[in-house]
Assembly symmetry: C2
Homo-oligomer: 219 residues x 2
């Protein structure tokens, strides 16, 4: 508290003020995202965001109109490039459906469940109701495209005779349900009952590919 904050990678010897028109918005956004994710929109104080970003509160208002503008900027800054990546991956893939899903789930768990997008998921889930435009944005950019990819995988699988006819066709996103559950679990109960990420992943793959039941040859 009493120590000067370390000037990360700065060459000068820490003047008490620093003009950094370029770097500031990004730093404020990063700080804001963390605070919003931690406390929720209503409960985060801009003073805390400022402190975390290493600026005074007034500085925030040089770059953002108000608290909501900062919030929207913060959430939107985390674009959704992962979806585009997945799209390409799926289109070009030519192995078995089993392998395709295995890889897909691996990426989803790495990015959404464990990775940096997890924080975004939490915000959408907890604050989405209060920011309809935001939910809509993420629905359009992320969810609906994701669904299209899943639908394509399922169609492909059915055509190749690897996926049961019509399985999950009415609700493709259900094959990601275990990943969503993992996110919720991490958000809420993981500290009381820690679950290993690999356990989530393995259970996901196993359940979705094979289901629960013993499969006897149809008589």
């Amino acid at each position: 508290m009493t120590t000067e904050k370390p000037d990360i990678g700065a060459t000068a010897k820490a003047p008490r003020r620093k003009r950094r028109k370029e770097a500031r918005p990004g730093e404020i956004i990063a700080a804001g995202l963390l605070e919003f994710a931690d406390k929720g929109y209503a409960a985060t104080r801009l003073d805390d965001v400022a402190k975390r970003a290493g600026v005074a509160k007034g500085t925030i208002y040089r770059y953002f109109d108000d608290k909501q503008a900062l919030f929207l900027a913060a959430v939107q800054s985390h674009a959704v490039p992962t979806v585009g990546l997945l799209e390409k991956f799926v289109t070009e893939f030519d192995g078995t459906t089993r392998e395709l899903l295995n890889q897909l789930f691996r990426i989803v768990h790495a990015k959404l469940v464990q990775g940096d997008l997890q924080i975004l998921m939490r915000i959408i889930i907890t604050e989405g109701r209060h920011f309809p435009e935001l939910t809509e944005l993420y629905y359009k950019e992320g969810v609906s495209k994701g669904q299209a990819i899943l639908a394509k995988i399922i169609k492909r699988g059915i055509e190749r005779g690897e996926i049961r006819d019509d399985a999950a066709a009415a609700l493709p996103i259900i094959i990601l349900a275990p990943a969503i559950m993992a996110i919720i679990w991490k958000m809420t109960f993981n500290h009381l009952h820690p679950v290993d990420p690999d356990t989530f992943f393995a259970a996901h793959v196993d359940l979705v590919l094979n289901g629960l039941l013993v499969h006897e040859p149809k008589v």
Copy 2:
């Protein structure tokens, strides 16, 4: 706004004040629960809760120490009798695992996804992080017991030769993942892309029981 609020089931003809020591706490709790679920803890105003409950703000403080006490009382008032019910149901059931899970999922969807417990799920998911004691309570009363029930079902299924050896044994709760996904979907995207409850239910049953893949007799 200008009309008198209808006095629900009252016999007297609406005096401007009414003394109802017994009924008040429950009404305030009910109103609070709705407001908290809708706005989130930080953003709900006790004036709104009071208005919804048909009392003055001061009255809230006769029955609850402060906002947080009301919140905790509201959430805890929705006890978790469903779990006990499930426990009995599962213990006494003696049909096939397929039928058992079908019934179980039906209850879960009726109560958790669509029913009155949905509101509680939303609160735990969105506010749990800020109220550790609450999360702990629900973990102990609801989640851990629910997990035990699921574990029992799986064990039973394996013993009866109906469930694949070790399937979901490491993470029993995963068989409810589609229901959890349904809750999240309803919370966030349902207004943009409505999904029929039966679709959720059917997809849940189908995925968990059968998985995605075509099951050829093992060669």
